[in-house]
Subunit: 447 residues, 2 copies
């Protein structure tokens, strides 16, 4: 039986924007249920903000607000500090200050983990605290806890999915309404869905940050964005989406982490892909995220939910706070990585990072060609030169006088061969009206 | 850093059938990874079986096999006992013996929890052990952990989904191949998909067991199967599936747990339902299970995965073993119920169990009528008498000489009114060729 005399857990917040205010609001909202479940009282006792005069959605006692971030990070009376400010400079310094003292940090800062996770997890481990990060990947979807705990019996041959809600929103609207990229992007901007640094959403970088985190969790290896394929959605047109649909596919921005245990190759990549329309991940629309996890014991499990936003992200931050409370009550620190290179060297040993040479796929090609005799023959000839075998050809309605749209799909091909063929095609400037575009077809198998 | 001198956790198994052997096999398979992740060694030291001479898929040292179940349940050297034998008599006695000694039981036995969970959880709580049950609901899908931990910030207005793989397999094959129920059932039997007690799969009882467990976890209230709607799939015909598809729906056996926090009513029910074809749960096919969880903070999260089978179930059993190991290392016992009626009385107080009077839905009606003038007028008249408003009517090809199939859907209607109308229709024996059949349409909203 719970007693009325339970431990009070003292929490500090670094940053009080959308997520910070959400955490405050939802702890207040379900405080009784939450405290009964945790067997502890939760008290947010200090909040560091940039501008103490700013109007906020929630009311907090003025005494707990400060602009002195370091004072919060260094406050010895705090049990847990939530870093919800974002950025990778001040946040790094403050996170290190907290972790160095053996305390617990809860974060939603994917960029920081991606850049400095190696150092921060090591620091947490050495000092005896912990660095919790459920909210950093896929908003309200408990993908970190699921990989770390629920699927602890498994090793993961493939994890893939939709990890960026903004690009998924854009692709979904383009498809449902037949809109062009630029039109939809303007709407997404107006709705505040696009990050200030638009490359994060549009060039696949945000999804890549999350893929790097999942790759570390599942395989214990830190991967640099510079070493992997990261392609965004800027090249996707309404024509591509329609052509893909006619072929039985939908175009989604996928993050893919695959490990070949036989050859010990780890491939991490982010790019738009054609997914068979009837699959589960292909059906994840709008701002929702979805992750498909294939483990060697459980088979394939799929998690779908809101990928961002105040409420979903708060739910994940609060679940990390709950796990932190259990740690304060005596639970061992959760596993940081399923097979951490640093600690469990034997599991990651021999594992090497794969690249384009590890990828085989079917490809979708869109060429805008001069509408004159012999063009298809030349294109087909180039593909044949690189042993790229054509599966389907669709020459479409003329877009402009003298121009035709040529949509091809290939049989399974080596990525390297495809790149070379694409290079040769691009060089045929007399035939092509613009840059040839290719997307990979992704085979989800059972998952 | 982990040391090489780590605790050895001693595990006993009660039952060594499909799941028991799976647990053995998969602990062996990923032993190194698992032990590194847990910081403990796992040793299965005793296994109680019914027939010690039986051939098995995995080889185990003969010395650890015994037919003396009580000796295993009472073995003081064991840290964790996994009850994987099934049934509700001997399993009850043995589970009580383990829990009474303050030890940890891991179970996959949904029927036992459903019948005696109240007693067993109380016993676990009083004696200081724990009763883990992830594998009892939805096989490899971590729905228990997700509700209990990942979504700890939430209260749950609705949880629904497909929790019985066998009935989903039957409905999926009926749909994809246009087969009748009896044909598909014969195949499912031949594949070993149907439980010995077929009512569990075909009459919705197995799904209801799981719904009861989820209702307890999420709302702290034990619900009896006798007090809730439990309908199976025996009435679903190929004609219904085709008619539903033409209307834009798929028929799935759903378990639904909904709580109206305003009026504090909890409704738990299991029945076939028409789901809009484009939804995520509607797309969960074959032996897969899917659960949609709507929390007041996170919004809607969906989990999909294998609902049964040796491997998926083993994955969940091993994840419970992992949580048990963390308890043995000092973690507090996990929350048993999100708002346990016994312990957290204030959260469940005032909550009452709702029934048909709480249900409003659109309905699908299939009537096989005499093909003569005035029949539709009479049917429509009866529905009008009970204020049931018709949305669509489809009179179909004659099945037999002089017989027509009348498929109706209604606008939103009170369940009570619908039941009364159905009673009146059933009494029109001169017009109806057989029992009228109705299914509810389920509105998934955003989830």
């Amino acid at each position: 039986m719970k007693t009325t005399h339970q431990r009070t857990v003292r929490i500090g917040l670094l940053g009080f924007g959308t997520v910070g205010q959400g955490v405050w609001k939802h702890i207040e909202r379900n405080r009784r249920a939450l405290e009964l479940r945790l067997g502890a009282s939760l008290e947010i006792v200090r909040i560091a903000v940039r501008d103490s005069g700013r109007k906020r959605e929630v009311e907090v006692p003025s005494g707990i607000i400060t602009t002195d971030t370091i004072a919060v990070a260094e406050d010895p009376s705090l049990d847990i500090v939530c870093e919800l400010m974002g950025g990778t400079r001040e946040a790094l310094d403050l996170t290190e200050r907290v972790l160095r003292r053996g305390k617990i940090v809860v974060t939603a800062n994917k960029a920081l983990i991606c850049e400095h996770g190696d150092r921060l997890f090591t620091l947490a481990r050495q000092a005896g605290g912990h660095y919790f990060y459920e909210a950093s990947v896929a908003g309200g979807i408990p993908v970190i806890k699921t990989l770390r705990e629920a699927l602890v019996a498994n090793r993961f041959s493939r994890i893939y999915g939709i990890l960026n809600g903004t690009s998924n929103y854009i692709l979904t609207r383009m498809e449902k309404e037949g809109l062009e990229f630029s039109t939809t992007l303007a709407d997404a901007r107006a709705l505040g869905y696009v990050e200030a640094d638009e490359a994060l959403d549009l060039d696949g970088i945000d999804a890549a940050h999350k893929a790097v985190i999942l790759a570390f969790l599942a395989h214990g290896r830190w991967v640099s964005l510079d070493d992997i394929i990261v392609e965004g959605i800027r090249d996707v047109t309404a024509e591509d989406i329609l052509s893909a649909r006619n072929l039985g596919y939908r175009i989604k921005l996928l993050a893919i982490i695959s490990r070949d245990f036989q050859n010990e190759r780890l491939v991490v990549r982010v790019h738009p892909a054609l997914l068979p329309s009837n699959g589960i991940i292909a059906g994840v629309d709008g701002v929702y995220n979805g992750v498909s996890i294939t483990g060697d014991v459980v088979g394939t499990t799929v998690l779908i939910g809101r990928g961002a936003g105040q409420d979903a992200t708060s739910s994940s931050v609060i679940s990390d706070i709950a796990d932190a409370v259990f740690m304060l009550q005596g639970a061992p620190a959760p596993v940081i990585s399923e097979e951490d290179d640093g600690v469990y060297r034997e599991l990651a040993e021999g594992l090497s990072l794969g690249g384009p040479e590890d990828i085989k796929a079917q490809y979708y090609l869109r060429l805008h060609v001069a509408d004159k005799p012999g063009v298809l023959a030349k294109v087909a000839g180039v593909l044949a030169d690189f042993a790229v075998s054509i599966a389907t050809v669709d020459q479409r309605a003329h877009l402009l006088e003298g121009t035709a749209s040529l949509i091809l799909t290939t049989h399974e091909t080596d990525e390297k061969a495809m790149e070379q063929a694409l290079g040769s095609l691009a060089a045929m400037s007399d035939l092509l009206q613009d840059k040839p575009v290719r997307f990979r077809v992704f085979d989800p198998g059972e998952g």
